[in-house]
């Protein structure tokens, strides 16, 4: 059981590492002018939700299997992802109005993202106010974090396998 949890976490973590690398590559492509902002943002926005799911999955698994240390390690990152990604119903009172539900449901809304933006990465904003840099920084930090997690999971998995 222990081992299974860590094996799944390991796979999940690998996926997240790849995702972070993909983010970094795409953002640096944008920085170097190889792709345009619109293409870049639509590429990246696609992966915001999968990233959240991946991160939440590990966190939940750690919570269920009662690995508190790893849970505490994961919790802030998961919370950040959630904060950045999830819908902000409370602020969107007008969206409750009938007739708008359809249109509303088509687009996912974000807490941190202004209503008119096209997602976490917005092509019209990404070059402003150093957003590109901060996105890049975020991706870098996540990469580091996932790498750290990777080795922790690997160690724990081996430990769990030996204990079994």
């Amino acid at each position: 059981m222990e081992a299974a949890v860590f094996i799944v976490s390991l796979v999940d973590c690998c996926a997240l590492i790849f995702l972070s690398v993909y983010f970094i590559i795409t953002l640096s492509d944008l920085e170097c002018d190889y792709i345009n902002a619109r293409a870049c943002c639509s590429k990246l926005n696609k992966w915001v939700i999968p990233e959240l799911i991946g991160q939440t999955l590990t966190t939940v698994m750690m919570m269920v299997s009662m690995h508190w240390f790893i849970l505490i390690l994961n919790l802030p990152v998961a919370a950040w992802d959630l904060y950045r990604t999830c819908r902000g119903w409370p602020h969107r009172a007008w969206a409750e109005k009938p007739g708008l539900q359809g249109a509303e449901l088509r687009h996912l809304r974000y807490v941190k993202v202004p209503l008119g933006n096209m997602g976490v990465f917005d092509p019209t904003e990404i070059h402003n106010r150093g957003q590109l840099k901060s996105h890049m920084k975020e991706a870098m930090i996540k990469l580091g974090f996932h790498l750290l997690c990777f080795f922790i999971y690997l160690y724990s998995m081996i430990l769990a396998l030996i204990n079994d």
């Binding site: 170097c32 345009n36 209503l115 008119g116 933006n117 990404i126 840099k133």
Partner: protein, 1219 residues
């Protein structure tokens, strides 16, 4: 406001990524080229760069000097007004449109077309290149965006249904139920049903239920009018107009003939224009694009490309020995600078700018600048024969150049007059291009590299002008000083440069930096707590603009900077880029100076003498053939719109301005109206009256007919006029209250996608139907709440996405909002914001009840319709290595770190950018900024306008303060505050503005000022800073406390983002003058009028007096406030009324009286008016009139419900500073 306030400058200390590492960021100019077609051969024969004939054609006889030269110059380049002047003259120079008869279908299109065309190349082909007309002369969609080489089979498939449909179609009875005045209405329907089921009759505006078939998912692409005349062949032609420039004189290097007056059969008209045509284009080919099957060209889409290619003959001057000049002095440090890799990685995605292609092309195309030695490379050269081999002696002056100071402005316009006054010189054999320069002064032999010495002087001597600096830094105690305003409106501070550099620097109206001395490091900038940014107005109407046509546009091989006055020539064959410090070669072509017509003086080329130049771009800068001018008008015709009554005014204005719309013979227009349905108008040539096509399926909008909705204005002029005449009455009885703006915009986008162009949307209410419908978000009770204003941002991303789609297809959307109720401008504005459009807002527009807005609408429309326009534009802003752009403000889409995509560019919009300093600028003493705007003119020419600004770099905080430009800082802060209020909250933004002043003045007091004074002190050049910030806080955009409608607030924000600096400063802090005591003292003499220059007054009621009359200039409105006890003479002489009581309450004009006083006032008013693009409204406000509220709202120094008085504000500042 400083770093913590507005800016999230993440000077990232960590990461291994470097924002500055954009090796290939290259050109401002995506080489617009289409796939395999290697080069669209030069569209313009070198001899015909001007669409218009200048006013004065001949040079026989000395022209009347100055006046003539001026008009001549201004004629050149698309000054709107001049264009207007010119329009009437045009027809006589135009060859009649050569529309090929449809029956003629030559077997070999290109060859035959060439034959067809050649007769149309008489001398006046020079004036108006007919290719443009020919290129796009079909009303068909001429270039499908997907591919230019659509497979033939596909083409045929396309055609078949069309033809079938054509057969099926029946023309509706012209004299149907409706009044004959009205266009015929049809409801496009499923294929089976009859296409013109009902006619919309004026008596029964409601649609018959059976008449609107359900169209769900069955868009019918019907082509009601693809009739025979669409098959009119676009005449493909290819002229290989070889320009043999063989006539240059061989003997007159020392005294070249002034051949401005020479007799040239063909090129006389252009010869007195400033046109540096040193083309040695050997071949100027008109590539017939219609030879390529574009999109769904119906009749002749299957033609093969004509296959004409450019034989690019490039030049290489004769190899010359001994051309190394001994200017190695400032090569010392420079050579060490890295020659960075020239091209970017090759995997750049194709939709991005084609810089790499460009590079390759230049290499392939024989760019001769690759050799690193000073001698010319042995390239096969036709230069000799082309240029007449006239320069062997001209390169001589290496050693014995006179060393007097460089004639920086020598070559300017004044220098041209003597040329004109010369009698006709016999200069029989000079080539056309020479003639263009003939008028230039020959005596400029001077010194080989003037820039060198000046540059090195500038490099060293930044200590510069100490007294200026001291003056700027002189402390002013704001609490004591009562009168801070200068007598005349503030000028931009002069950067502390050597006089020579200062002389050539870019005009502050075009390019302005908040700090005219750039701090060396980010740390220093942070310490100064002043924002660093640029304010640009790149496309403004210019009086003079050197236009350069040349084969190779000389650019840095590494950073793609255009050569500019601030580069340094290391020796005659090499120049060092002033942005990246790479050493480049001077191409051979550049060695020849067309101005002096001498060889070996690259530093005297116009590019190196002017900070603002315009290049005629070659086909390298085209991704597709230059688009024609295409205008689509999208009009709201719902009940609300009819009530507002704008339609009549719009139609009248457009009718008046139809001939002034910028464009050539290919110009196309279209109309689209919408209420709860979308109506298209078939204006195909040949119809007896316009046809209306109604699409009621707004959930899945489609275009009912592809080729007859956007029509050539020239061909369908009568139909367009008919439509405009009929439109206002057509919808008079409309009862439809809904507005399907979203679907209408989608339709407009589809309609324009193949060409790009301009969509002008007129909207009068909140969109309530279909995609993009919006809820009302404004709560009128919250209008004056100080808690913060909600809903400043968009409610949905629909309009933003649409704008980005439009921007991608080179479509700009201009929004005219004429609503009396909340229409959610915050959301709607997105459609213009990101597609580089402009936004106009007329709150509570009503044609009867609100004459002020009506007049403004009319005046704005007149300007809007006739102003210059550039299509498919991009602008790149480059800056010296170490600086980078951090945030952009304005209407555009930022495509990459320094590239702005502007679907349209207009002369009235400005931009701002915030800069950050990534790397220390210790090594450089000058910082340069270059904005290059690549656009297609309305005449179908690709042009690049380049502005370069050079500023000194300083290391002392005091120098930074000495160079601060208070107006630019205010404007940039306003832009930042608006961003802040949208992303955070209005309160934050206001706090940040306040902090900006507190920080700025605090730093000055604590570090720069030597006097330990108490009280609030500011450096002299920032003495207006608190005043301007206070005025900003009381602007509609940022004020709290008074009731401000959300839309008006949002509009004010949009204005701040796009207005040029002067206009914006007038809005923020209007200019007030006393008019009743106006005198000629210190007046300005312009031509033959004397313009009085009254003093500026502070905006406080205490400056007003009952016995005076005051003029308030708010940018778009002028108020003349007349006090109760004003001199009777003023009332009589200026206002033409016997006494105060008889002044009419809503007087909007000043009578033209013959009195001295009246003349002065009118001269002054006219002068104010001349200085702005949009004509402004004028009101005479009596002291007791109700309109005085508007007037007193501008008294920003007084205490009001909007905020503190100036004195209180200062006290407040002082309090904050001492905290």
């Amino acid at each position: 406001m400083s770093a913590p306030g507005f800016t999230n400058r993440n000077t990232s200390t960590s990461a291994g990524y470097n924002q500055n590492s954009t090796p290939s960021s290259a050109a401002a100019a995506p080489a617009y080229r289409n796939g395999t077609e290697q080069s669209y051969p030069a569209m313009y024969p070198p001899t015909s760069p001007y669409p218009h004939p200048p006013l004065h054609q001949t040079h026989s006889g000395p022209p009347p000097s100055k006046a003539l030269t001026n008009t001549g110059h201004t004629t050149n380049y698309f000054h709107q007004q001049n264009n207007q002047h010119l329009q009437p003259h045009l027809p006589q120079h135009h060859p009649p449109p050569t529309v090929a008869p449809p029956a003629v279908r030559p077997p070999h299109p290109s060859a035959a077309a060439a034959q067809q065309y050649t007769p149309a190349l008489p001398t006046n082909a020079l004036y108006d290149p007919p290719p443009q007309q020919a290129l796009y002369c079909t009303p068909d969609a001429y270039y499908g965006q997907q591919t230019y080489h659509a497979p033939q089979a596909q083409q045929l498939q396309h055609q078949l249904p069309h033809q079938q449909q054509q057969q099926q179609q029946h023309q509706p009875p012209v004299n149907g139920v409706g009044a004959p005045l009205y266009p015929i209405v049809s409801y496009p329907s499923a294929p089976g049903s009859s296409q013109y089921g009902t006619l919309r009759s004026s008596q029964s505006p409601c649609q018959a239920p059976g008449a609107v078939p359900t169209l769900v998912g069955a868009p019918l692409h019907q082509h009601p009018q693809t009739s025979a005349d669409t098959s009119s062949l676009p005449p493909a032609f290819s002229t290989t107009a070889v320009q043999q420039f063989c006539g240059a004189p061989t003997t007159n290097q020392t005294s070249p003939a002034y051949n401005g007056t020479a007799h040239h059969p063909a090129d006389q008209p252009t010869s007195h224009q400033r046109h540096y045509d040193q083309n040695n284009h050997a071949a100027a080919l008109y590539d017939p694009y219609q030879g390529v099957p574009y999109g769904n060209m119906t009749a002749d889409g299957d033609r093969p490309p004509s296959g004409s290619t450019t034989t690019s003959v490039h030049s290489s001057p004769r190899h010359q020995q001994g051309m190394h000049y001994g200017y190695d002095a400032n090569r010392s440090g420079s050579l060490a600078c890295e020659p960075s890799p020239a091209t970017g990685p090759s995997d750049s995605s194709s939709e991005e700018e084609e810089d790499d292609d460009e590079d390759e092309d230049e290499e392939a195309g024989g760019d001769t600048s690759s050799s690193t030695t000073g001698s010319a490379s042995p390239v096969p050269n036709n230069f000799d024969c082309l240029e007449g081999g006239s320069y062997p002696d001209s390169i001589a002056p290496s050693g014995d150049m006179p060393n007097h100071s460089p004639p920086y402005n020598n070559y300017g316009y004044p220098g041209m007059q003597p040329a004109y006054q010369q009698g006709p010189a016999s200069h029989g054999d000079s080539s056309p291009s020479h003639a263009l320069y003939g008028q230039q002064q020959p005596q400029q032999y001077a010194q080989p590299f003037p820039n060198m010495s000046t540059l090195s002087a500038a490099l060293g001597g930044l200590s510069g002008v100490p007294e200026l600096e001291l003056e700027a830094l002189m402390p002013v105690n704001l609490l004591h000083e009562r009168s801070l305003l200068p007598d005349r409106p503030l000028e931009a501070p002069e950067p502390n440069l050597s006089p020579d550099l200062r002389k050539v620097n870019c005009s502050p109206q075009t390019f302005r930096c908040t700090l005219s001395s750039i701090p060396q490091t980010q740390a220093l900038l942070n310490k100064a707590r002043l924002p660093l940014g640029l304010l640009l107005h790149p496309f403004r109407d210019l009086q003079q603009l050197p236009v350069i046509t040349s084969n190779t546009i000389v650019r840095c091989r590494s950073c793609r900077t255009y050569i500019n006055p601030f580069v340094s020539f290391l020796d005659q064959r090499r120049w060092k880029c002033n942005l990246c410090y790479r050493v480049n070669d001077v191409p051979d072509e550049f060695m020849y100076n067309p101005v002096t017509r001498s060889y070996g003086e690259p530093h005297k080329r116009p590019e190196v003498q002017n900070a603002t130049v315009e290049f005629i771009a070659s086909s390298d800068y085209m991704l597709r053939p230059p688009q024609p001018a295409v205008y689509l008008f999208v009009l709201d015709v719902s009940h609300n719109a009819v009530e507002a009554g704008y339609l009549q005014h719009f139609c009248d204005s457009l009718l008046d301005n139809l001939d002034k719309l910028p464009g050539d013979t290919r110009m196309r227009v279209g109309f689209l109206t919408f209420d709860s349905t979308v109506h298209f108008y078939n204006l195909q040539q040949g119809l007896s009256q316009p046809q209306m096509l109604v699409v009621s399926d707004i959930d899945d909008i489609f275009i009912p007919s592809h080729d007859s909705l956007m029509v050539n204005l020239k061909d369908s002029l009568e139909l367009v006029k008919d439509l405009l005449g009929a439109l206002p009455s057509m919808f008079r009885d409309s009862r439809v209250t809904h507005s399907a703006l979203g679907p209408a915009l989608q339709a407009a986008h589809q309609l324009m996608a193949p060409t790009g162009g301009r969509i002008s949307v007129f909207q009068t209410q909140l969109p309530s139907l279909g995609a993009g419908l919006l809820p009302s978000r404004e709560d009128p009770n919250q209008r004056s709440s100080s808690k913060g204003v909600q809903h400043l941002g968009p409610a949905t991303d629909f309009y933003k996405k649409l704008a980005l789609d439009c921007s991608g297809q080179q479509i700009a959307v201009d929004l005219f909002l004429l609503s009396s109720q909340y229409a959610d401008l915050a959301t709607l504005a997105c459609v213009s914001k990101y597609s580089a459009g402009s936004i106009f807002y007329y709150p509570s527009y009503h044609h009867v009840h609100n004459p002020a807005q009506r007049d403004k609408f009319r005046k704005d429309l007149d300007r809007y319709l006739s102003r210059k326009i550039g299509f498919e534009a991009v602008m790149r802003i480059r800056c010296t290595k170490g600086l980078s752009i951090h945030t952009f403000h304005g209407n555009f889409f930022v495509r990459s770190t320094d590239l702005l995509s502007l679907a349209n560019v207009n002369p009235d919009s400005a931009f701002a950018v915030q800069m950050s300093i990534d790397d220390s600028l210790v090594d450089s003493s000058l910082a340069c900024f270059q904005a290059a705007l690549l656009y297609t003119s309305s005449k179908g020419k690709r042009r690049i306008r380049v502005h370069t600004l050079c500023l000194p770099v300083v290391s002392q905080l005091s120098d930074v303060f000495a160079g601060a430009d208070v107006q630019a800082i205010t404007c940039l802060l306003a832009n930042m505050a608006i961003d802040r209020s949208v992303s955070s909250s209005l309160g934050d933004a206001r706090d940040a503005l306040l902090n900006a002043v507190v920080d700025g003045l605090g730093v000055y007091r604590n570090t720069v000022s030597t006097l330990q004074q108490h009280g609030l002190i500011a450096p002299d050049n920032l003495r207006l800073f608190p005043l301007y910030i206070l005025a900003l806080l009381k602007q509609k955009a940022l004020r709290t406390g008074t009731s401000t409608r959300l839309d008006e607030r949002v509009f004010a924000m949009c204005e701040f983002k796009t207005q040029p600096l002067q206009q914006m400063m007038r809005m923020v802090y209007p200019d007030m003058y006393r008019m009743d005591t106006i005198s000629d003292q210190g007046s300005l003499h312009l031509n033959d009028t004397v313009v009085p220059q009254p003093r500026l007054l502070h905006l406080s009621a205490e400056r007003l007096s009952r016995d005076g009359a005051f003029l308030l200039d708010c940018g778009s409105v002028l108020y003349l406030w007349v006090g109760k006890c004003v001199n009777e003479i003023f009332i009589r002489d200026v206002l033409g009324c016997p006494n105060y009581a008889s002044i009419p309450p809503n007087m909007t004009d000043i009578p033209e009286l013959e009195t001295k006083l009246s003349e002065r006032v009118r001269a002054f008013l006219d002068w104010l008016q001349d200085n702005r693009a949009f004509s402004c409204l004028f009101y005479v406000v009596r002291e007791d009139a109700s309109a005085k509220l508007d007037f007193f709202q501008n008294m920003v120094e007084d205490r009001s419900e909007m905020g503190l008085s100036y004195h209180e504000f200062l006290q407040n500042l002082l309090q904050q500073m001492s905290k």
